[in-house]
Amino acid sequence: MRATTLEELLHERGLGGTRVAAAVNEVFVAASERSARKLVEGDRVEIVAPMQGG
């Protein structure tokens, strides 16, 4: 992982500009805070997208 922020990580994974939401270490990080959210070794990043549901 070369990305130093959550925003960079999303771009690195080809998800820039897509409709996704993210959490780091089980805490939600709003889209507006992604570029300020620095990532360190061991951070658990969860990225989710829309899915069918009941």
């Binding site: 994974r13 080809g14 998800l15 897509t18 409709r19 996704v20 939401a21 993210a22 959490a23 089980e26 805490v27 939600f28 709003a30 889209a31 969860e46 990225i47 989710v48 997208a49 829309p50 899915m51 069918q52 549901g53 009941g54």
Partner: protein, 257 residues
């Protein structure tokens, strides 16, 4: 007039969006039934696949209200974080709050449910809690700030219908001003009609429509059933009685004996 956080439904049917044979059939089920609310969910996005984007486009084109769920969450923390992510993705304060308590029955963990509901209501969410028919739990959820409750009819996906009509009737009687929606376990349109006859405001159906041989026709049948049940309530039905009572007037009957 009871509403879903200010939203009135012409057709009191909410449809889930999972398990349909194809996206086209899912879209037709909504169009043919007139269902105005779609439940949706979130999944892990694996890098570059973008699998969720076409689904989001499809739902947006349907023009229905979106009710995201927290399906698969077993803890308060998971459910709250999922709700926050759903609010951002789907751009709605609505959340169908599920905190699951047991993998076999998929019954709600009502303790965690109340805790999560309180956190989310305070954070500005409009919470639709998936709960049981327990009156005590319902009271806690209302205290937490919920203005809609979604008690189960029977276990999710079982199609068993309304297993505890007494409990559902009791909830209706205790909360005359609260919007109530039967969620889970509905298998047939008659179950949906019955829920509406009990004075419920809507029903949520997924498996019974999506897994039917003809999901589009079944969605339409469910819509008609919900409208029939609601019509019956407003038409003030008769009370059942033990003895027969002739419906044909006896006055003026010919003496043929």
């Amino acid at each position: 007039m009871r509403t879903l956080y200010g939203t009135e439904l012409v057709t009191p049917l909410m449809l889930g969006t999972a398990q349909y044979p194809s996206p086209a059939i899912l879209a037709d089920a909504f169009r043919e039934s007139g269902a105005e609310v779609a439940t949706v969910s979130l999944r892990r996005e694996s890098g570059g696949v973008r699998a969720g984007q076409p689904f989001w486009e499809l739902i947006r084109e349907l023009g229905v209200a979106v009710l995201p769920n927290t399906a698969g969450c077993f803890t308060v923390k998971e459910a709250v974080t999922t709700a926050q992510m759903a609010r951002e993705i789907f751009e709605t304060p609505w959340i169908k709050l599920e905190v699951i308590g047991h993998t076999d029955t998929l019954e709600p963990d009502v303790f965690g449910l109340v805790d999560a509901a309180r956190i989310l209501c305070e954070d500005g969410f409009e919470v639709f809690p998936y709960t049981t028919d327990s009156l005590a739990v319902a009271e806690r959820l209302v205290e937490a700030g919920c203005k809609v409750l979604m008690p189960w009819g029977s276990p999710i996906g079982s199609g068993l219908g309304l297993l505890n009509e007494h409990g559902l009737r009791s909830l209706r009687a205790h909360f005359p001003d609260l919007a109530l929606v039967v969620d889970a376990g509905i298998g047939l349109p008659s179950h949906a009609a019955r829920a509406m006859e009990l004075g419920y405001d809507a029903v949520l159906v997924n498996t019974a429509v999506a897994r039917a041989g003809d999901p589009v026709a079944m969605a339409r049948a469910f819509a008609l059933a919900t409208l029939a049940g609601r019509g019956a309530v407003t038409a003030d039905p008769i009370e059942p009685r033990d003895m027969a009572s002739p419906s044909t007037p006896l006055i003026g009957k010919a003496f043929l004996g």
